[in-house]
């Protein structure tokens, strides 16, 4: 947890419990009724409540409570468990100790009831296991602690903050197949246009002194009567920049376009970093955040952490000119995950295209506008909306920006399948495009 939990000794402020007030109210009304109506027998209704109050209200109560919070995990991936243990102890036995953990949106309780209680005890340990359902920064708690003493007539309440849990988005398996035309001079996994020492076959040429005998293509040599050798493509690394459109997030919580975009971004980052490419990330939305392209396994965690900032609402239009060259190196393949709902995102896409970046837009809008059943106007509006979307995609394609749809949008009544297509399958048609195709 990022924030130090409130552990240690805490002073208890005791107040009369609702039960004591209730008993006092009933007793008062009964006594008043007995006096006003002149019926002493009605005092019998007040007597038990008064006696119970008189017996339990005075007396000593513990002045402080010792609390210990154990939360071993501060960072995890979606679907992983976070264990929380809270222990409270005081000097004398209490009637009741109850603890409750409010579960934030984005987490769910895997083990243990949210509210736990023990009776007639001097200490209590509550264990919870939360399962991270969505990526993001979540704040479980604070744990509410309630102690009751002296026949339940006195109660003290404490609040124990737990801190923040960072839940990283889980990466889908992805094979890095899209590469920009310009590859880095660094050794990598992609077959470059230039000849080199790779394993990918690139062509056949005449033998020149210095060529290795093992490269001689004997079949062609026999046919032509002169020595010919096989050429191989150089293996080079690529630069990839993933841009996530955080201007809009349409869809139900946990399944918004932003969630899909972030999942796509981490899948791409994981796939390319796995084969030694350099990956950077740019968050569009509000003040732009970026992370320059870099390689290595640790960089994946940097990207995952940077993507946590994507859940922000802002009306600021980012100035892409201000993003330094290191964040958008020339020739880097830029993949923009966007629902194409915000004009600012469209302007940025057009700007990136004008700057001649090899660009791919992944449309992550999965939900169509909801319409009322049997509403002819609604159906017409939906048709217009679909036409508008189609026109938008067409205009981007005319600009030279290929647009792919990741996961077909669901119908207005959610009758299409719920499982998203794999990103690999969504990007497969782009492998044939000359700008992005593998070379040779």
């Amino acid at each position: 947890m990022n924030e130090a939990p409130r552990a240690g000794r805490h002073a208890l402020t005791w107040r009369l419990s609702p039960r004591a007030r209730q008993l006092a109210t009933v007793a008062l009304i009964a006594i008043a009724a007995a006096i006003i109506a002149g019926r002493p027998a009605v005092m019998l209704l007040a007597a038990p409540a008064m006696a119970a109050l008189a017996a339990t209200v005075p007396g000593t109560r513990p002045r402080e409570l010792e609390m210990a919070v154990t939360a071993p995990v501060a960072r995890c991936f979606e679907g992983e468990d976070i264990e929380l243990h809270v222990t409270v102890a005081c000097a004398q036995r209490l009637d009741e100790i109850a603890m409750s953990l409010p579960v934030p949106a984005g987490c769910e309780l895997a083990v243990g009831p949210a509210a736990q209680v023990t009776a007639d005890a001097a200490q209590m340990r509550a264990d919870w296991t939360l399962r991270a359902a969505w990526w993001g920064r979540h704040r479980p708690g604070p744990v509410q602690i309630r102690c009751r003493a002296r026949g339940g007539m006195w109660q003290a309440e404490l609040v124990c903050p737990i801190g923040q849990v960072e839940v990283y988005p889980r990466a889908e398996r992805f094979r890095a197949r899209l590469v920009p035309a310009d590859l880095l001079r660094r050794i990598g996994e992609h077959a470059a246009r230039a000849a080199g020492d790779g394993v990918e076959f690139a062509g056949i040429r005449s033998y020149t002194p210095g060529d290795r005998p093992r490269d001689v293509n004997w079949r062609v040599t026999a046919r032509r009567g002169r020595l010919h050798v096989n050429e191989r493509a150089a293996q080079r690394a690529a630069d990839l920049v993933v841009a996530v459109d955080g201007f809009s997030a349409a869809g139900p919580p946990g399944d918004t376009t932003l969630d899909l975009a972030v999942h796509g971004a981490v899948a791409l980052a994981d796939g390319y970093l796995r084969i030694g490419d350099r990956v950077g990330v740019v968050l569009l939305g509000g003040i732009p955040h970026w992370l320059g392209p870099s390689a290595g396994h640790q960089h994946f965690y940097r990207i995952a952490e940077a993507l946590l900032d994507a859940r922000q609402d802002s009306a600021v239009t980012p100035d892409m000119g201000r993003i330094p060259r290191a964040a958008l190196p020339p020739g880097a393949l830029v993949v923009v995950f966007s629902p194409l709902l915000d004009k600012r995102a469209l302007d940025i896409i057009a700007d990136l295209r004008e700057r001649r970046f090899p660009l791919v837009v992944v449309d992550v809008l999965r939900h169509e506008p909801q319409i009322r059943r049997r509403s002819s106007v609604g159906v017409l509006a939906l048709r217009l909306w679909r036409l508008d979307r189609r026109a938008l995609r067409l205009s981007l394609t005319e600009l030279g920006v290929p647009v792919v749809t990741w996961d077909q949008p669901r119908g207005p009544h959610g009758d299409e399948p719920d499982v998203p297509d794999s990103l690999d399958a969504a990007l497969a048609p782009l492998r044939r495009l000359p700008m992005l195709a593998r070379r040779p």
Binding site: I31, A37, P48, A52, E78, A98, G106, V117, R148
Partner: protein
């Protein structure tokens, strides 16, 4: 993963945070009203003294049981009930004392009635803090 996320979303939309077990204020209010209705009924149509005494003990029992941790394990519930026993027994002793006092003949007096009423109101206002 996605389904679980949706469930979490529904839960957050339904505002079901972890809540310390106990009766909601509306339930507590309804039970108090029922107890007060019993007081009014006993005042207007007084039944036998023994019935009123039993009613008083039943009301005390209900008010004590209102805070019972119903969802707790059985052992915890038994411990909790055992802890309430002294309160209920004290109430029974109080009832017995009032029954004994009622058996003693007394002369009715308006001054005694007014003094008692003021004492009760003062006790309620002074002893029970308003925080």
């Amino acid at each position: 993963m996605r389904a679980s996320g949706r469930l979490a979303g529904l839960r957050s939309a339904a505002h079901l945070p972890g809540r310390i077990p106990g009766p909601r204020s509306a339930v507590r209010f309804a039970v108090t009203l029922a107890a007060l209705a019993a007081v009014v009924q006993c005042t207007i149509w007084p039944p036998a003294t023994a019935v009123i005494a039993a009613e008083g003990l039943i009301i005390l029992g209900i008010l004590l049981a209102l805070d019972m941790p119903w969802r707790a394990p059985r052992a915890t519930m038994w411990r909790w009930l055992r802890r309430q026993l002294p309160s209920w027994l004290t109430g029974a002793v109080g009832t017995a004392a009032v029954l004994a006092a009622l058996a003693v003949p007394a002369v009715p007096s308006a001054w005694i009635a007014v003094t008692g009423l003021v004492a009760v109101a003062a006790a309620y206002l002074i002893a029970i803090p308003r925080s």
